[in-house]
């Protein structure tokens, strides 16, 4: 088009790229600064000379954190939680979404079950009754508290239910005529057709479990049971570096700032590693439910 090449249009393009570039940089610079600080030596970090590039490049901060044990313990709690939690989340989501995707004619009582789910979605008792309930179940300080309290993500159930409903019914009918039970149709018809949807929900559930910290802070009363994000909170928000158990003889060589930055990087690295997959899938995530051609 002629218009696209005009002088004012070019100026418009430059302005667009400039503003977008600026916004992108504003989002990214804090993260680059973090990495730079985590790789800088003590004097540069304490003196505040680090901007976006490490000054006095050193891996000493990482070395010190990773040499001491507590980070591994927290990472282990989180990995346990992510694996157990995601598996249980997905199992319960599928088990709830499939029956609810049936019509009330086919599955009597379906609407009652739907209301039970919706009320739980729309109304909650609040933090205190939630905490008291979990405490009275005797789950404090147990990994099961972290795994089970949100084991049925209701939004995901509704999402998957909508997805199931839009799959062609004929496939299931054909299987049923051939003598398949509902278990068979779920496992051999619906689930294979929903792999991309399930992958999306799995990734998001896993990231959610990795990032969760408040439940860890409230439901775990001992430091050694903290998942990594709750542990990180103690280090970077409560500014308590003792929990890291860094070798005291090395402390005079370290800056608090760099140690904190390095701990953040260690706790975030796994998210950054799955981020490309997340990005590929999340467009899928919002298309979830749209019928595939």
């Amino acid at each position: 088009m002629v218009l696209e090449k005009s002088w004012s249009s070019r100026l418009f393009n430059i302005a667009i790229y400039f503003v977008l570039g600026l916004i992108g940089l504003l989002c990214l610079l804090p993260l680059l600064h973090l990495v730079a600080v985590s790789l800088s030596n003590r004097s540069a970090s304490v003196g505040g000379f680090v901007t976006l590039w490490p000054v006095g490049l050193t891996l000493f901060n990482y070395h010190e954190i990773l040499l001491a044990g507590p980070v591994y313990r927290a990472l282990f709690v989180t990995i346990e939680r992510v694996v157990l939690g995601t598996a249980i989340n997905m199992a319960l989501t599928v088990l709830a979404a499939y029956p609810l995707s049936k019509s009330a004619q086919e599955f009597k009582g379906r609407n009652w079950f739907m209301w039970i789910l919706l009320i739980a979605l729309l109304f909650n008792g609040g933090l205190i009754p939630w905490f008291l309930a979990i405490r009275s179940l005797g789950l404090l300080n147990s990994i099961w508290a972290l795994v089970l309290h949100d084991a049925l993500p209701i939004w995901n159930v509704i999402l998957l239910m909508n997805f199931f409903r839009e799959l062609p019914r004929e496939l299931e009918e054909a299987a049923i005529i051939d003598g398949a039970s509902y278990w068979d149709t779920l496992f051999h018809v619906y689930l294979p057709l929903s792999v991309p949807a399930l992958a999306t929900l799995t990734l998001f559930a896993a990231v959610g479990h990795w990032n969760a910290w408040f439940d860890g802070m409230v439901l775990m009363t001992k430091n050694e049971n903290y998942p990594i994000m709750t542990f990180l909170r103690t280090v970077v928000i409560d500014l308590n570096l003792q929990v890291l158990s860094v070798n005291p003889e090395d402390l005079y060589n370290l800056s608090d700032r760099s140690i904190r930055a390095a701990t953040i990087v260690v706790a975030t690295l796994p998210i950054l590693m799955v981020y490309p997959f997340l990005q590929r899938y999340f467009i899928h995530g919002i298309r979830l439910g749209a019928i595939k051609g």
């Binding site: 218009l3 004012s8 249009s9 418009f12 667009i16 790229y17 977008l20 916004i23 989002c27 990214l28 804090p30 600064h33 505040g48 319960l92 709830a96 499939y98 029956p99 019509s103 086919e106 009597k108 739980a120 729309l122 909650n124 008792g125 609040g126 933090l127 205190i128 009754p129 905490f131 008291l132 979990i134 009275s136 179940l137 089970l148 049925l152 159930v157 909508n162 839009e166 062609p168 019914r169 779920l186 990231v207 910290w213 994000m229 909170r233 970077v236 928000i237 700032r257 953040i264 975030t268 998210i271 981020y275 990005q279 999340f282 467009i283 298309r287 979830l288 749209a290 019928i291 051609g293």
Partner: protein
């Protein structure tokens, strides 16, 4: 909130697929017609019925147990708001005090501050977030280089996937008195600002850092809506001599206005949700006057000071209002855009 992620196909199908999905939609409708064929009323033979459908009931057993223990049991626990809860006596034997906790609460000036802070911060966040994400989506839509657009998208979506602890840790350092931001300000001749330790600056800091985390992610729905605008409209406007700015103003913005209104309606449901995790991470006693919100108040009163009943009363107040707001929000969204969650 991940609401965007959960928009149902009824909205997204036309939005995302636009004209391309016409065939798909016809197919869906044909299937829907077949599904709703009338079944003559007949008395159910329950034995035959259950022989076939028992797996559907069996599948729901575990999800219902989870709901019972972790949703409905805590819901029953709201009775502590009407008790003087004593952990030793439990839910059933603690003494009842009627509405005393609520009376105490509504006469307490702290509660008014906290309520106002929640409302102010939540509304400011919702408004700024929507303005920012709509503008950003319109800008991204104008970028002609796909590589550039993708790169910017990758970068602005990233903070959404980091927890408030990670972002909070970065911010506490960045905004400290000798952090990067204050050092830059000093170079420009501006005296250092305590962003997280000043009642003037705390709220703006919360609002801006919220944009950092969520504005990019929130563009997704608007970008989807923009791709569904008929290119014919743009061609027609260009032939009529509209420049790019005029096309944004008169084609793109009206084209996504229904989605903007829909998101605004749904936002109504969260005007008491000021962002618990963010504030709990970033606030401190100095800024309680401007930054303490309902959730943090509940947390401190209940779990730090162990005044369970008082905190539960605040929580119940918030849940009840929140419930009404969400129902109203869904009603409005349904009225204006035919939005249904299922």
């Amino acid at each position: 909130m991940n609401a965007i992620l959960y928009l149902p196909s009824s909205i997204l199908d036309p939005l995302l697929c636009g004209r391309k999905s016409r065939m798909g939609r016809e197919l869906t409708m044909a299937i829907a017609e077949q599904r709703t064929h009338v079944v003559p009323a007949r008395r159910t033979n329950w034995r035959v019925y259950f022989a076939r459908t028992w797996p559907l009931y069996a599948m729901l057993v575990l999800p219902l147990i989870q709901l019972a223990f972790f949703h409905y049991y805590p819901m029953y626990g709201v009775i502590v708001a009407f008790q003087n809860f004593n952990p030793g006596l439990g839910f059933t034997r603690s003494p009842w005090v009627g509405l005393n906790n609520f009376r105490y609460l509504f006469s307490n000036p702290d509660f008014k501050t906290v309520l106002w802070n929640s409302l102010f911060i939540a509304v400011a966040k919702l408004v700024t977030l929507q303005l920012m994400s709509v503008s950003l989506a319109l800008l991204l839509n104008e970028a002609r280089s796909m590589l550039f657009k993708r790169t910017v998208q990758t970068v602005v979506y990233l903070p959404h996937f980091l927890s408030w602890i990670v972002l909070g840790g970065i911010l506490v350092d960045l905004l400290s008195s000798n952090g990067l931001v204050n050092r830059s300000l000093t170079m420009l001749g501006v005296p250092p600002i305590l962003f997280l330790g000043s009642n003037t600056w705390f709220r703006p800091t919360i609002i801006v850092t919220n944009l950092w985390k969520e504005a990019g992610w929130a563009t997704i729905i608007y970008l989807a809506a923009l791709t569904s605008i008929d290119p014919g409209l743009h061609e027609a406007a260009a032939i009529d001599g509209a420049n790019r700015w005029q096309r944004i103003r008169h084609v793109n913005i009206p084209g996504i206005s229904s989605v903007i209104i829909l998101i605004a309606c749904l936002n109504l449901g969260s005007v008491l949700q000021a962002g618990f995790e963010q504030i709990l991470t970033l606030y401190n006693p100095v800024v309680y006057r401007t930054g303490d919100i309902l959730d943090t108040y509940v947390y401190r009163a209940g779990l730090i000071s162990a005044r369970y009943s008082l905190a539960a009363a605040v929580g119940l107040f918030q849940s009840a209002i929140g419930f009404i707001l969400i129902v109203v929000a869904y009603r409005l969204a349904d009225r204006f855009s035919g939005y249904r969650i299922f």
